[in-house]
Symmetry: D3
Subunit: 153 residues, 6 copies
């Protein structure tokens, strides 16, 4: 695999942004708390790399389209990620919820904004969404703690 191709794939699976965010923990508790986040991110990263290196080119094209859909446009990236969160919650996919929650926190979404988006998902999707709301709350706390105090500190 050429260096250029590898760079493209790395951009696609977000290696740099992912690990930049992981830097700078300031205590043992924080390291422990981040383990679930880190593990979830790593499995995603490893498996995406296998899919993207499988030799089946259209997987790469779909992943590229998926990536591009959330880039800054007429709708700011933060709101696009919140849309991704709502879509993931009403379709009840925990892995997708984690991914978009992670991105929302990175893009500076506050806890209040996350609550409002989660509430839209809860109302659209009903009580069947509640187990995923529980998961979202669990991961939101871990993500905001890992970010260095969170927006509500």
């Amino acid at each position: 695999m050429s260096a250029n191709r590898r760079k493209f794939l790395f951009a696609l699976i977000g290696v740099h942004s992912r690990f930049k965010k992981c830097s700078g923990p300031s205590g043992l508790g924080k390291i422990f708390m981040k383990s679930k986040i880190t593990k979830t991110r790593k499995y995603r990263l490893d498996m995406n790399e296998k899919i993207l290196n499988s030799g089946f080119k259209d997987f790469q094209k779909f992943f590229a389209l998926d990536n591009k859909a959330y880039l800054d446009g007429k709708i700011p990236v933060k709101y696009k990620e919140l849309m991704g969160l709502v879509g993931s919650m009403v379709l009840r996919c925990n892995d997708c919820i984690f991914y978009h929650l992670d991105r929302c926190v990175t893009e500076g979404a506050t806890r209040e904004e996350l609550h409002e988006a989660m509430n839209i998902a809860l109302i659209i999707g009903g009580s069947i969404v509640i187990p995923h709301l529980r998961y979202a709350f669990e991961m939101m706390e871990e993500l905001q703690r890992a970010e260095g105090g969170g927006q509500n500190a």
Copy 2:
């Protein structure tokens, strides 16, 4: 039913905002184009009134929560409606798509913003969303024409 109660229900089912938006057509073509919109809105209005007047109070409570989820908050109302649109498209519900599209246009969402939101829904939900993308395009055109030229004119 008391006058107050009626007023509350009317607010809930959005009678005033709906008909205010219908004012001001400027030609026969426009009247014709609006017929599908008007019919869809009217059926929704009539049936909601039956549900809200059925005597089963918790229907009203749920409808009130539903209504409140999209009010202006930390997330501006336009983005909340775009989130409602994404949620409706990935869950593939044409009635819901029409409702949120209608609200998005009222809140000033441009065609480009609608495209970006629809694209997020298409990528999340896949080709099974395409028939609803067709419906969304059909209604988006009618709604923007009915609005008096559209935001892109």
Copy 3:
């Protein structure tokens, strides 16, 4: 097709129970109101007969299992049909909603019982269920009128 086979298939697609229920309208309005019900029942009946006569035997076996699931057992048939209604509403299938609503009314479910079951479906499935709640209300009214006054008269 033998007479016996035909009798089995007719039992399966419920010809007799369906048309017995259609007897005894007492006015022009009632006839008009029943047209939507009759048309929906007839399409279902005709197409089921085509499927069951297609020569592919396992369609018949599945239809027989489907039929049997709602027969009187430890759970009374009325509650089984209400369960069928809840399942149909949360999965958002109007044809299935009509069928189970029709059966619920035949089994003597009152409007209050239908409201409670519909509310469970609304809470489980969220606002995405609302268009189907509207449809259920529309058909519930027609079915109860067609029954000769309804259970709440």
Copy 4:
């Protein structure tokens, strides 16, 4: 948080009813068998408390509506919980299945009634429901054993 508020939230998340049900194991085997049940209930309890204490009031309102939908009414509570079970199985949500199964057993649903309800869900939802039928069987056994012999003893 005031004492009253706390009492309301505790009622909502069912602390008392949950732990009352856990009392009275009569052997080591039973304690071990209950560990999966207890863990599932505890995670649900803890996360619900976080959601209900998040300061976002409409989560509480939705949870209250959810709770109320299954209270005794024209439809007896046991049948409402069986409806909740059917809804949860066709929507394929294990956490929801556990919750309603737990409630059904508490309300005295027998194994035969549970089989009939599960069969309705299997027929409506198809083979995609089978993994959730496996989960339901696993938890049904543990719940009925924990109850002190089960309804079929």
Copy 5:
């Protein structure tokens, strides 16, 4: 729009293959029977063209990927279209069912093969798929008649 671009889009929305298939009806009955097919195809065609000409490029890219997924590969195109039919039936999308059924018939799938694929969808998806099985039977008949006698003649 350049001629080349237009040719690409036309290939994408399948204008030629669609209309070639429509040629050669040999009687009034056949013309009447094809009207539902023609209307469904035309709406699809018209709206796809609007989407593909909307100026939002990523819609085109997704449509191209969608188109490419069903081209001849290690899996022959007929089986790919049968897979598309199964996917459309379990996700309960009539427009998608019509499209893949249309393609299956064009690719020479026999009625028996269609029955077997539909049965897999029915078993996977359960009774909630039945209304879509009815629709599939209705359209299968029309498509095979329009093809000039069908594979079972």
Copy 6:
């Protein structure tokens, strides 16, 4: 339970074919790699046996229909299993994905054929399918390794 009945149930839950496939590992690594596969198969086997021995006969009838849907017919069994894989992926059920992937590998589906089928599922179902694509890739590797080198060696 009679010997015959037991034989029927064993055939249904596929004991022999499952364990035959597990024979012949040639090293410690292979044994370790197969543990996840073995565990997943065993849980499925054990729980199916409980369901089929529950005394509720219609579970057996549904399982038999399910089993029969994938037998060799006009459509070869390999393509039927690939259809089962597509149906499982678009409905996002990991247990079902594992089962059909396992069957596909047994029926000789190559990695290229699996990629093409997975791509159809990805395009139909969208990015919400990606976590299941990751799971499918993980299990596909383990299954093909356990098979003794895989079809692409």
